[in-house]
């Protein structure tokens, strides 16, 4: 299956990435080739085969519900690009509207 430039644009939007026209064109071609490669799987009969997401058998690991000290607040701020008065600072959400997925 080839993938169209329109689809690639949609996936880019979902991925929160933007591409130039030239990149979009290259990506459409490359993703198309990769999708052709993975479509090899169509020839495998998977009727009744279970879906495997992980190799471990213990999917839910429980612990005692006791409180433990958390991470120091100042430390958590160490890598934040912009902060003010103990808050993370970001630009306004509403300006130009949010292009949600």
């Amino acid at each position: 299956m080839a993938i169209s430039e329109e689809q690639v644009k949609h996936v880019a939007k979902l991925s929160k990435l933007s591409f130039s026209e030239k990149e979009l064109h290259n990506f459409t071609e490359q993703l198309g080739e990769i999708i052709d490669m993975v479509e090899l799987l169509e020839e495998v009969d998977t009727t009744g085969v279970s879906f495997m997401s992980n190799v471990t058998e213990n999917l839910n690991v429980m612990r005692e519900d006791v409180s433990e000290p958390g991470t120091d607040r100042d430390e958590l701020f160490k890598n934040i690009p912009e902060a003010e008065n103990g808050y993370i600072k970001v630009p306004a959400i509403m300006d130009n509207g949010e292009a949600g997925a």
Binding site: S15, Q30, S53
Partner: protein
């Protein structure tokens, strides 16, 4: 002075306990060696000199005893393993200035063992790639030929060990990222069973496949290093609550009667002639050692690459959502609103291969395609695992080449993602099934090392080490050295 950089862990330990050398001298010699060779290899992204020297002095003060086999020994760490207060970038622009506020569980184990982390090693950005050319920062070179790739994604971890910059390193392996660079550099690389080593603090790429492992210049060193980093961790829900055996215990050289399968799918079309011949010779060596070696079939292994690129990319697209320019990492200056922070930080911060995988993963998980791609891949993954389960009912180990070819030229495949992806065809099925796999040197093709892959049963790394050690004792491939480590020219 003896060339400390050429010594194995057992010898270094002996010199440290008898006080022939101090940890301070060894650490100093290690940084000298790195500085002397780094222009040729370019393996390190960050050096940890001040703290390493301090750690060495503390160890010298306390004294190193014989029950601390790794104390005072320098180690390099792949740069996707978080290290408290030591820059950790995953070789990405998006984390170029990131200083973690905690240590990965493996780092705590490294410190407990008395190992001295000397620096962080180059890799493909977020471990996505097979040549280390996807690093934002630099291009690491193969230790044997500086015009060739070191493999990847743990290319820095492998080249640094092979070039004698450090005797041991940690890497991570999602689809072959320890074994393939180990093979390309002629060293020993182990990807343990999924769950053997805690992933807490490993920057996630594909969480159901990622595993941390060890790279060294010989088998015993590797077993010693894996002893130190293995074990249950309550901070990683997928780590296995199982006792860790002493992986050096079975290193006797005796493997008579061991049953080994060679998948015919690993020896067919697409495998370089010299690689196949080296593995065929390895089969003869194993037979001479008394093992029973027979041809087997892993019929679904040929689908591994397709399954992998759907599953790994899907998991990556989800894992990499956290890089949004808000709490850490690169934030674009070019913003008008919050949406711009997300989109522009990611667009400017991620490299092309990472974007390619995020796009493929998002596509595979998106409405209308989930069943055809992600679900189908998960089902074929079951079949790949069943192939291994069936083979291991009859055999103790599976062997074959690590990679279809030896190391290729820098820049040769960089614009051809599919060729690059196919070079992982022999290592990927191992991650999909969660079994352990390792690479050991088994020959040369035009002066470049060939890797022999040894695959074991779940949590049976001990048998792999046993066989690898017997092979190593019977051959001299591990004693051959690249020029940079005093080989050939000598």
């Amino acid at each position: 002075m003896t060339k400390l950089y050429d010594l194995d862990l057992v010898t270094l330990h002996e010199k440290l306990t008898t006080k022939e050398i101090s940890a301070t001298e060894l650490t100093k010699a290690t940084f000298d060696r790195i500085k002397e060779t780094e222009a040729n290899i370019d393996a390190f992204l960050t050096l940890n000199e001040e703290k390493a020297m301090q750690k060495a002095a503390e160890l010298d003060q306390a004294g190193i005893t014989s029950d601390q086999p790794l104390a005072g020994i320098p180690i390099g760490i792949k740069d996707n393993i978080v290290t408290k207060d030591l820059r950790t970038t995953a070789a990405s622009k998006i984390l170029a200035n990131f200083e973690p506020i905690y240590d990965a569980t493996v780092m705590n184990k490294v410190y407990q063992a008395g190992l001295i982390p000397v620096g962080k090693l180059n890799m493909d950005e977020f471990a996505m790639g097979g040549s280390t050319e996807n690093s934002y920062f630099k291009t690491t070179k193969n230790a044997w030929d500086q015009t060739k790739v070191p493999g990847g994604s743990s290319g820095g971890s492998a080249a640094a060990v092979a070039a004698g910059q450090i005797p041991v390193s940690l890497g991570s392996d999602t689809g072959g990222s320890i074994r393939q660079p180990a093979g390309f550099n002629g060293i020993v690389g182990m990807k343990p069973t999924y769950g053997r080593v805690s992933r807490f603090g490993l920057i996630a790429f594909a969480s159901s496949l990622d595993q941390i492992g060890t790279l060294t210049r010989n088998v015993k060193d590797n077993a010693l290093a894996l002893n130190a980093i293995s074990g249950y961790d309550k901070k990683d829900g997928t780590s296995a609550n199982l006792a860790v055996p002493d992986f050096t215990a079975g290193l006797t050289g005796a493997i008579k009667g061991m049953r080994i399968g060679v998948p015919k799918e690993f020896m067919g079309e697409g495998i370089q002639k010299e690689v196949r011949e080296a593995v065929e010779k390895a089969v003869i060596t194993f037979k001479e050692l008394g093992a029973i070696v027979e041809e087997i079939s892993l019929p679904h292994s040929k689908y591994g690459v397709a399954v992998y690129y759907i599953i790994a990319s899907s998991e990556a697209s989800s894992n990499l959502q956290r890089f949004d320019g808000i709490r850490y990492g690169y934030r674009s200056e070019n913003v008008k609103n919050l949406e711009d922070v997300y989109v522009n930080s990611r667009t400017e911060g991620f490299g092309m291969e990472v974007k390619r995988r995020i796009m493929l993963g998002t596509f595979s998980l998106s409405a209308g395609y989930y069943d055809a791609y992600f679900k189908k891949a998960g089902q074929v993954r079951s079949l790949i695992k069943q192939d291994f389960d069936r083979a291991f009912e009859k055999y103790d180990l599976i062997i074959g080449p690590t990679s279809p070819t030896v190391a290729y030229g820098l820049g040769e495949n960089i614009n051809d993602p599919i060729t690059m992806y196919m070079s992982d065809i022999l290592t990927i099925p191992v991650n999909l099934a969660g079994v352990p796999g390792m690479s050991i040197p088994c020959g040369f093709a035009a002066g470049l090392p060939v890797g022999l892959q040894i695959i074991g049963k779940h949590f049976d790394e001990a048998t792999m080490y046993k066989a690898a050690y017997a092979f190593e004792q019977a051959t001299d491939f591990h004693q051959q050295k690249p020029t940079i480590l005093g080989g050939i020219a000598e």
